[in-house]
């Protein structure tokens, strides 16, 4: 780090400590052989990992979270990609309005969207929790799907598609041979981003959960409230490991900073 800017460097170090050190403490606590969150840990053991992996509420919730994340990401892309094409290639009137509409779920607090779906669909219309969770998560991911794939499309040259059409390719053939390859990195980025966003979500799922469909983050929150033992640290460490795998995949493909930070380096 640059030593000629001492104040900036000191603030930067404090910033990194606040961002990263709590994560290190979670990992350290996960390997304790004791039964409290005392620090330093009392000894080394893997018992809390065993406990976490055989704790039925967590494994069940993990399955629910994975299903929900995969299904909502798939749905958001399935309806989002065609919408992106229409917005950026369709020359439709009111393009700005439609685009704003698709990005609007980003403005309203997720907790408020959760309350809205809970009140209207679960209480008033008695819809089951699972479809409402799926609907809510899909609406939440739609802005990401439209924005990320839209960025891939906006950065490409429309004359490629016009050339294909001009040379006699059908609209479908143009889509599959020209547009889809242009979109592919955007779709991949949106899928990773969508999966992570849905999997980690708390505020939207909070009111929409039921005993049968409870996601992992919510189950973990409930657990911390009742008991205060290192099993939650072990579960967190496993989530951290899985997240790191996703980060590596992102870096090896489209680029980590590009997908998750929206930064083109």
């Amino acid at each position: 780090m640059n030593t000629r800017k001492p104040v900036a460097a000191a603030l930067a170090i404090v910033g990194y400590i606040v961002m990263l050190v709590p994560i290190l403490f979670v990992v350290a606590t996960a390997f304790t052989s004791g039964s409290t969150l005392r620090f330093p840990p009392e000894g080394l053991s893997f018992q809390w990992f065993d406990a976490a992996l055989s704790y039925a509420p967590f494994t069940g919730a993990l399955l629910t979270s994975l299903q929900l994340a995969v299904a909502s990401t798939f749905l958001a892309l399935a309806v989002g990609v065609p919408a992106t094409l229409a917005i950026y290639r369709g020359a439709l009137p009111g393009k700005g309005l439609v685009e704003g509409l698709f990005l609007s779920p980003l403005i309203i607090p997720e907790l408020v969207v959760g309350l809205a779906l809970y009140q209207q669909l679960i209480i008033t219309f008695r819809v089951d929790n699972w479809p409402v969770l799926l609907l809510g998560h899909t609406a939440l991911l739609l802005p990401y799907a439209v924005r990320v794939t839209g960025a891939a499309l906006a950065g490409s040259d429309v004359s490629l598609e016009e050339a294909a059409r001009g040379l006699g390719a059908s609209p479908l053939r143009t889509f599959f041979t020209i547009t889809l390859p242009i979109l592919r990195p955007g779709i991949f980025s949106a899928a990773l981003l969508g999966f992570i966003t849905s999997f980690n979500n708390v505020p939207l799922s909070l009111l929409l959960q039921s005993r049968e469909s409870r996601t992992l983050p919510i189950t973990m929150l409930d657990y911390v409230q009742q008991s205060y033992d290192p099993m939650i640290a072990a579960t967190s460490t496993l989530i951290l490991a899985a997240t790191m795998v996703i980060a590596v995949i992102a870096e090896r493909t489209v680029g980590f900073a590009k997908i998750f930070g929206g930064i083109n380096r």
């Binding site: 369709g90 907790l111 209207q120 996703i246």
Partner: protein, 292 residues
């Protein structure tokens, strides 16, 4: 040779069936619009006018009470206050990091940028949980303070505003860094050199050149952090306990503990207005800054 563009402009291929093309594209929008309307817009409207078994008038009466009742006002004030503190802390820590990263030429710059972005991928529950280990009664920070004789017994840090500020800063600092980083990288490093060459001190160059030119990014960072902080649930729930009530925890307890729909709706309205208001004002400032 006939260029495809020319074909297009003369209407040979596209103009003739432009209407059907538009129709096809409009159809492509429909599934997405259906999801937005049923999964978002219509239910959101319901918060205002059709909470279960509640009249719109009850919601608005409760909203009026909320803006005058001392208990409710204290919660709104605490939420906004904590949001402002977290925003200030995130800018104070995030801008220097963004500045160093954007001006870094070493390969460590990329690693440090990745380390700043990575926490965004990690579950908020996992990240916030670390503070329970650090700030808890048997936690590391308390032990450290006792060990060095600063206090006799570990002070109460968990379930205080301090804990919430730490937790929220950890959550939203990456957003502040990314927004500031994008802005600072667009400020030509040559300008720094020019100012220095003309005799400005390092500090003066930073405050008079880098910061003003990065203002649009700073405004975006502030908006993201503030909006995130006043709507966050996980952090106040885990680190604030039952005494540090905020709008988000109130909204949850109105909807699922006391089941008071008028209050839940009113809280949701206050929260939404707060976020939308701040975003709109910030967008104005950002646009003014860009044209000035």
């Amino acid at each position: 040779m006939v260029h495809p563009r020319t074909l297009n402009e003369t209407g040979y291929i596209h103009e003739g069936n432009r209407m059907t093309r538009r129709g096809t594209f409009a159809l492509l929008l429909l599934p997405g619009l259906a999801f937005l309307i049923f999964g978002f817009l219509a239910p959101a409207m319901g918060i205002l006018f059709a909470a279960p078994g509640t009249d719109a008038s009850e919601i608005f009466i409760r909203l009026g009470e909320m803006l005058t009742d001392p208990y409710d006002l204290r919660i709104i004030g605490r939420t906004v206050g904590l949001g402002l503190i977290v925003t200030a802390v995130c800018l104070a820590l995030g801008f220097p990091i963004a500045y160093i990263l954007a001006r870094s030429t070493s390969r460590w710059g990329g690693v440090l940028l990745a380390l700043a972005i990575f926490p965004l991928l990690l579950s908020n529950v996992v990240r916030t949980f670390g503070w329970l280990v650090i700030l808890g009664s048997n936690g590391a920070l308390g032990q450290l303070l006792v060990h060095f004789g600063i206090t006799e017994t570990p002070p109460q840090m968990l379930y205080t505003p301090f804990a919430i500020v730490m937790g929220l800063t950890q959550l939203f600092l990456p957003l502040a860094i990314i927004a500031c980083y994008s802005a600072v990288s667009q400020v030509d490093a040559g300008l720094d050199d020019a100012a220095r060459g003309l005799g400005a001190s390092r500090g003066r160059t930073f405050w008079d050149v880098v910061v003003p030119l990065s203002m649009p990014g700073v405004v975006v960072a502030a908006t993201l952090v503030f909006a995130g902080s006043v709507t966050a649930y996980t952090t106040p729930y885990l680190l604030g306990g039952s005494r540090q009530r905020l709008l988000s925890t109130e909204l949850y307890s109105y909807s699922s503990v006391t089941v008071d729909w008028a209050s839940a709706s009113a809280t949701a309205i206050v929260m939404t207005i707060l976020v939308v208001l701040v975003s709109t004002v910030a967008a104005r400032i950002g646009r003014k800054g860009a044209t000035a």
